[in-house]
């Protein structure tokens, strides 16, 4: 049918073809499972995207230890000053040298913009974003939390 290219009849036929393609796509969409989440009702079964960034967490292992080395890179990376790290020095028993350890990892959810720069900056993978999103509170001071145990 190449002789019909760019002719009147050819245009009509190709238009019908392309319109039919579009209508096929939407018809398939009409019958697919709908993506709407009926939120409060489906609390038990809802699916939150794994990479959704809802709140910053610092995972701890069974002994209650975290991987943070208090280097402060996340604090520097944060554009909003959301993270404040306080350190204290301890003396190593074997070498006798003093070194910095984490005293408090303070995170202000209220000013976090979930850019993930802190997580990317961390050399040890000590912090991560979790997808627990039900973080609404009535008092702003409750948004400031201590992440390390």
């Amino acid at each position: 049918m190449s002789f019909l290219n760019n002719t009147y009849i050819g245009n009509i036929l190709s238009a019908i073809g392309s319109l039919a393609t579009g209508m096929k796509v939407t018809l398939c969409e009409f019958f697919t499972r709908k993506v709407t989440e009926c939120y409060p009702e489906n609390r038990k079964t809802q699916h939150i995207a794994e990479r959704h960034r809802a709140i910053l967490r610092m995972p701890h292992d069974e002994e209650g230890k975290n991987k943070c080395i208090a280097c402060g890179l996340c604090q520097q990376a944060c554009p909003n000053g959301t993270i404040t790290i306080t350190t204290r020095s301890v003396t190593d028993e074997e070498t006798g040298k003093s070194r910095k350890v984490l005293a408090e990892y303070r995170y202000d959810l209220g000013s976090c913009m979930f850019c993930q720069l802190c997580v990317n900056a961390c050399p040890k993978g000590a912090i991560e974003f979790s997808n627990e999103f039900e973080n609404a509170v009535f008092d702003r001071s409750k948004l400031i939390m201590k992440l390390n145990k």
């Binding site: 009509i12 319109l19 579009g22 209508m23 796509v25 939407t26 018809l27 969409e29 009409f30 697919t32 709908k34 993506v35 709407t36 009926c38």
Partner: protein
């Protein structure tokens, strides 16, 4: 099949027996007007709800689910919201025309609505030039749109109205050509006769190829007539805020909104009357049991089923294609639909003359 004309004549003779002739006619007119307007509003509610649900399904959503069970009360909530909105007086607008315009639009829509044959005898206006009357009545809605755009004293509204005028007058042509094609096939313009003739087989089957082409062109032109996407240039949100009804608030806007939806219902209703057999059931020649079973389904169910199916087709198109540019709209009409429509009319005439119809 219930014959509503016998019920009508019973009511008619009862009224004439208790009232003088002129008063009886007046009372009948009032009853019919109330029935027609109530039915109009009821279908408007159905249409708006259907639009929301179908649109949602095409976009992979669920649509309204919160107001009432399955969102059934959503439309009532919308109407209530619209009713409590302030009606603004526009400075320097032409007050009389500005107020008149929505009523013209809805009036044309209601008149056309009352021509639809819902069932055997369940039809308000039925006379020998019925189809002709439908075309005339539906086309004066454009007057209301032009007035709305002009009297609002707003450039967006003006451009929207001018576009609407150009577009609707153009598409009226190919719509009329399609209707003419069917008139050639049926040989009558009376709506009830056209439906009655389709007892033997729907016109889209009996007219085969030219009828199918006419059906498709009719749906395209009908979509353009109702100012819906992909032909929603008169109210192109991104360019013209809301086009001709930019300045309307409250129920003024509500009338345009309802009229738009009901025009779609009317377009679908006419399509199902002319092409899909109106209220006549679907028959397969030779299958007696099947035909008898089909006969048990009441006529208005058939009519509404067909009409809502055509509405669904229109919505499918509306939520699939992007909006055309104004020159593309006019090119589509004048360079493609009108010549094809004329050719199609010729083919149909040849088919009818040669007896090639089924």
């Amino acid at each position: 099949m219930i014959d509503f004309s016998s019920i009508n004549s019973t009511i008619d003779s009862y009224l004439h027996s208790v009232l003088p002739a002129q008063v009886a006619t007046l009372v009948e007119c009032a009853i019919i007007a109330v029935c027609a307007i109530v039915a109009y509003l009821a279908f408007a509610i159905v249409m708006i709800f259907m639009e929301r649900k179908v649109c949602a399904a095409f976009q992979c959503r669920l649509g309204p689910t919160r107001v009432g069970f399955w969102g059934l009360l959503q439309v009532f909530a919308d109407v209530f919201k619209m009713l409590i909105k302030e009606i603004i007086d526009i400075k320097n607008s032409d007050w009389a025309l500005y107020t008149l315009a929505p009523f013209l639009v809805i009036m044309s829509s209601i008149i056309t609505f009352s021509c639809l044959p819902f069932d055997n005898g369940l039809q308000v206006l039925d006379f020998n030039i019925g189809v002709f009357f439908i075309m005339a009545a539906s086309s004066f809605g454009v007057l209301g749109i032009l007035l709305a755009g002009w009297s609002s004293n707003n450039k967006f509204a003006m451009i929207g109205a001018i576009r609407s005028g150009g577009q609707m007058i153009s598409y009226e042509l190919s719509m009329s050509l399609c209707i003419l094609t069917l008139v050639v096939l049926s040989g009558t313009m009376q709506v009830s006769e056209i439906v009655e003739m389709q007892r033997g087989g729907w016109f889209i089957i009996r007219g085969h190829i030219p009828a199918v082409i006419a059906f498709i062109i009719y749906l395209i032109a009908g979509n353009a007539e109702t100012n819906r996407a992909p032909f929603d240039l008169p109210e192109a949100e991104s360019e013209l805020t809301a086009g001709f009804h930019t300045e309307y608030s409250g129920m003024g806007f509500g009338f345009f909104y309802v009229a738009e939806f009901m025009n779609m219902f009317i377009i679908a209703g006419i399509a199902s009357t002319l092409f899909l057999g109106g209220w006549t059931p679907f028959y397969i020649p030779g299958l007696e049991g099947f035909n008898e079973a089909m006969e048990w389904i009441p006529g208005f169910v058939w009519f509404l089923g067909k009409t809502l199916f055509v509405v669904w087709l229109l919505m499918w198109v509306r939520w699939t294609f992007p909006r055309l540019r104004i020159d593309q709209v006019l090119v589509l009409e004048w360079k493609y639909l009108v010549p094809i429509g004329l050719l199609n009319l010729l083919i149909m005439t040849v088919c009818v003359v040669m007896g090639w119809t089924l």
